[in-house]
Symmetry: D3
Amino acid sequence: MNFLSLDERLNDALIEDLGRGDITTDAIIRSLGSKQDKATARVIGKESLVLAGWPILVRVFRVLGQIEEEPRFGEGDCVAKDQVIGIIRGEPATLLKGERVGLNILQRMCGIASETREFVGRVSHTRAKILDTRKTTPLWRDLEKYAVRVGGGSSHRHGLDDGILIKENHSAVAGGIAKAIRACRESASHLHRIEVEVRNLEELKEGLAAGADIVLLDNMPAEQVRQAVKIVDGRCQIEVSGGIRLENVASYAEAGADFISLGALTHSYRARDISILFD
Amino acid sequence: MNFLSLDERLNDALIEDLGRGDITTDAIIRSLGSKQDKATARVIGKESLVLAGWPILVRVFRVLGQIEEEPRFGEGDCVAKDQVIGIIRGEPATLLKGERVGLNILQRMCGIASETREFVGRVSHTRAKILDTRKTTPLWRDLEKYAVRVGGGSSHRHGLDDGILIKENHSAVAGGIAKAIRACRESASHLHRIEVEVRNLEELKEGLAAGADIVLLDNMPAEQVRQAVKIVDGRCQIEVSGGIRLENVASYAEAGADFISLGALTHSYRARDISILFD
Amino acid sequence: MNFLSLDERLNDALIEDLGRGDITTDAIIRSLGSKQDKATARVIGKESLVLAGWPILVRVFRVLGQIEEEPRFGEGDCVAKDQVIGIIRGEPATLLKGERVGLNILQRMCGIASETREFVGRVSHTRAKILDTRKTTPLWRDLEKYAVRVGGGSSHRHGLDDGILIKENHSAVAGGIAKAIRACRESASHLHRIEVEVRNLEELKEGLAAGADIVLLDNMPAEQVRQAVKIVDGRCQIEVSGGIRLENVASYAEAGADFISLGALTHSYRARDISILFD
Amino acid sequence: MNFLSLDERLNDALIEDLGRGDITTDAIIRSLGSKQDKATARVIGKESLVLAGWPILVRVFRVLGQIEEEPRFGEGDCVAKDQVIGIIRGEPATLLKGERVGLNILQRMCGIASETREFVGRVSHTRAKILDTRKTTPLWRDLEKYAVRVGGGSSHRHGLDDGILIKENHSAVAGGIAKAIRACRESASHLHRIEVEVRNLEELKEGLAAGADIVLLDNMPAEQVRQAVKIVDGRCQIEVSGGIRLENVASYAEAGADFISLGALTHSYRARDISILFD
Amino acid sequence: MNFLSLDERLNDALIEDLGRGDITTDAIIRSLGSKQDKATARVIGKESLVLAGWPILVRVFRVLGQIEEEPRFGEGDCVAKDQVIGIIRGEPATLLKGERVGLNILQRMCGIASETREFVGRVSHTRAKILDTRKTTPLWRDLEKYAVRVGGGSSHRHGLDDGILIKENHSAVAGGIAKAIRACRESASHLHRIEVEVRNLEELKEGLAAGADIVLLDNMPAEQVRQAVKIVDGRCQIEVSGGIRLENVASYAEAGADFISLGALTHSYRARDISILFD
Amino acid sequence: MNFLSLDERLNDALIEDLGRGDITTDAIIRSLGSKQDKATARVIGKESLVLAGWPILVRVFRVLGQIEEEPRFGEGDCVAKDQVIGIIRGEPATLLKGERVGLNILQRMCGIASETREFVGRVSHTRAKILDTRKTTPLWRDLEKYAVRVGGGSSHRHGLDDGILIKENHSAVAGGIAKAIRACRESASHLHRIEVEVRNLEELKEGLAAGADIVLLDNMPAEQVRQAVKIVDGRCQIEVSGGIRLENVASYAEAGADFISLGALTHSYRARDISILFD
């Protein structure tokens, strides 16, 4: 993993929680005088989950002090209820001060990886790829997209600057899908393809005619996707999105979509229940 | 509202999304030449929700350019499905570039406010207050605690530095609840009270005897809370937490708890579905 | 010690002094060519003082390069005139470039600790605690409050966010002491007590009646404090402040104040005379 | 005035004090609902002083909100006890939140200007100039040197990069005063003069022979300074420093020193007593 | 123009030059007392040039103070020797302090635009596009690529994250061109094409066979490029680079290259001679 | 070398190039799985040059990861065409990601040092010193002035704050050369000399009469410089600048100038051709 500015953000997250200092922990540590021992903390999954984010948890503690880690699982592994995910050893103050921020991140990342894994499982008999979107938590997109990949999904573009995707509002501004595609073709780097969002089969045909490299079928029922695949007939790639849930994802994949993108993977996951217990 | 460093974080969130620039929007705007009009965008709730975060949405756009806002609802108002929450007017480029980040924040805040409102409704016949926790999204605690208040909840401490709460791991390090309370009493500012987490009625009695100002009953069934209230008999305040859901929250309130704190309000809400449509 | 952002501030303080570089030292070091030895510098108290800030002095040098330290005294120890406080060894350039900034901090911290120690000594036969205030040097409050504690004093709140203290101007805005207390009670965290400043015995009674947890008697003569203590009769705690000097501090403590807060400890101390001499 | 990064430092100083927000003020303002009026605050000198720093006080408040200022005195003016220095008008919250930080700065700057003025007055019958030193409060050197100038003093170099001053420890490292001067002459910009610190008349002669442009006589009695002036006989300029107090400063000036530098102006001033009262 | 963080970099560039303040200008302005007039400065091209960067020059001055601008030419216009490019009016101090930094930027940008224009002119009878490279001045890539576009060139990728270009060293690490292309195809976003650098016709064939979308012919004579164009026969796009100068650029374009990229446009331009004169 | 904030700027330069990550390199490294070896890269001069900046190249790579360096030449050494300047060993990803930024800096610094060396060689039979100017690339002045010194030149002032130089526009504002000198004399530190730019012999005489310590003869032919030297007759130092090229620099030195300053050294050098090849 190689996340730009991550340590800085973890540091800011710790400052958000610590403010001028942890007055409860400091009072207790002071009362112990010199008789402090190292503490050993078990990180425990209170429900089954797909692990993602252990190295981030470790970095949170390392911003605060020296610790030793003993992971029991790898990224992407399934952890059963009440299993020990790993062990952290260090000064009690370090563990007590970093615990909440570390868990706040780990619980969310495991939530994303676990839910992605479920979607990926439902389409594994097809060639469709599960994609994330830009509907990520502001300032944590890199960790969330990483958790999607750990869960078996793939990454859509990382921002507005590394790929061209013409959405409904862009076409509205441009004066139509064809005009929007033409405008992008003119300015685009020779290294970029052009994807366009279409809402119905008319727009699909317009996009194809204007030379789109990929079409995004928005909010179409699976049956309509099947028709679209026929119309496209291999001339471009197909992404679907909108209204897709665990129950119906397979039908979209079976309809022939190349990519299925899901906002809910990163905007409405349930954080997995994980706690840290001192021995 | 008065959030320290908020504009800086919104700016960073925009940079996270924009990177070196929005290549799709820039291509389309360039193709329009000088014939650009102002755009009008309707912000629409695609499901019913409690509104929280409109002023933040507005600030996101204002980091990018000049816009005019026309809110149709106030913070805390209920918005029905398909109603227009408000209107934003400005350069198309400003609206297109800020849309995703703005919605990423607004959808999450409305999720929190909406779910808080439900919990508050269930206990409104008692004197119990619904509290948030420190289980917030890193770097966005202020917005999330604000959304809880908009939903009718109250704020627990904002960080580790503005209140004393002795948790299970603190007592373990200190060598017991009584020792932990004593250590905190010695160091504490004369302006602070001391709260201690207890897991059973033995610990409750130990905490009371050691002079706790507030006890936090962790993961107790409502029936046991009722017993605890009797034991305490007004000598300190009582907070409950752990295992509390919409279905059982009233029973805890009716058992006599002063405060009910809920991690799920900020760690596992479902983002409300909101979209922005250009006229 | 655990000061947030301290290294950053020390770095900024060094940049303030070094600017684009120490042209005198650089010229001299360059003239020595390869025949440079490590330098040994004695830090000497030119007058008697209470030591506070040695670890900060060491950190200043460590921002610049590798050094070894050999402290001769601990924080809070009394150092007699002309005694060696400690020894620093390192590259001559490191010592020459960090000397002034390091001393600027150490001399001030020893000034604060020394003057606090005198006040604490005058009230040691009573239960009164000597407190600092928010009248600290901007950007160095943590170091100054630390120096007060090294000198034997205690810390009042660290900022406007971690405690409630209703001052004269707050009451004026609120429309009176009782209204101000009521407003704070409504918003206050359950973890916070409420302190109110009163200027005379009428206001004291108003504050008591409104349920203040602590009263701050401002600018009262010791005799009046004695009367106040009788009126309060144990119903709340008492802090005194204003017009208190070394000569009269004991009379306030003997009058029954719980806390005596002194702005002068941090706004008008005399820096202790300390120098650094190379062997 | 033109201070680099000043607004940033004032902002940081406010954050140091405000932390996550002023809970007392916020509670009171909230209780007022919509019936808030603008507040008018008088800034009052509780003792006589030389004014320095009014524009900085104003900037502190302006970081927080809109205010109007009505100064009654100019920078460098003498203000008598209990006179109103000026008036600030604005939202009560703005005034209450900025008051302490603003006064913390203003009181210190008036302390410096007032004490400088006294020294300047004692030597006004001679051509000696009163200079400050680098013994300033870290991170506030620009404001403190400004306050010295407001009090009538002049500025020595602003840091280690804009002038050459060979101190005792530099000469020790270089292997003597003459070698140190030679080393600096070789590297120095053609735009810089060279000053050297000497501890006795032998060293003075060595410095003169090596071509020093200015000598700094360190810790010499006034009588010895008189001898030094004779020895120098106009061949270079003379600065004195060390052991100089209000009582003896005139004797140094009369002995013929060109410059008298005083560390105490910026390291051990007494903050002037100033308060802010709401009408 | 829309450059992220540009004002921050201009501010840092001014601080690099101003340090603690412009002592020459400040001395002169102080001597004028209140009799200061606004100054009018003419920005004059001392040689013919293609204008690029006027808005940046204006922003440099605006970081320092209020100015009025009166441009005489637009971006991309040709300016003859000794013509006035534009007029700036403002406080003399603002103009004097910003002049050097402003010119340092403007002179370089005009150098880039002027030299790009020459290359573009040489190939205007072909469909070849002149491209920039990543051989830009660190921290100023956006301005330099903008100047290339002003001169008539196009932008290659902006960094390592928005396009895939397999260079010689990548192929060496991957174990050959084909393996490198396959590795990229597997990880690549569906929005990206793949370009590969080849050094001879063998490698060209290997790249084509492996499915490269674009080939970069490195350091080939124009004659060999012509052969490559035949081999490719429309199956992918062709970029050439290396050893291309004004004298031979047309032969590359005529040989059939789609893109000609030139490092020298941004690493070895000659700054155009421009000065600022006060009336 | 000791450059303030250099690592921060190198880090920013890498972020400018890397953005969210190097997608080409990451794809290739991922495809290698665990069978990655260390890479060895030769840094090769493709033309003869004076080496400057090797330690900076090394620091660029060290921001990204651990590397070993094996320099074959020292700073200031002449490197012949096709010689290996040095070797870098490390993870392939580290070398691939840092290569472009490192070369962008090294190529420019070698350009400056090489061109400075030529100028220095032309005047080595005289006592004239070659000086740089403030016409440096914004944000990289320290590296560029260092490269000038490596090439054998000397440094003029580093910014507007560490020396006084009255330019033509300053005199215009002040109302003449004599007034400008007088204004500066009044405000100047006792550690600073005063230099004034003059355009002809009249102005030279005015500057001399007003007590300038150094005169800068701007844009004069060598013959006129010779006359000026006679007029000055040792009363101040002489710098020349403007219109000086390799071909005529000796004539200026022989005319008696003490300093020859050259903007082109830092604004119009040609980057030397250097490449990095993996074994």
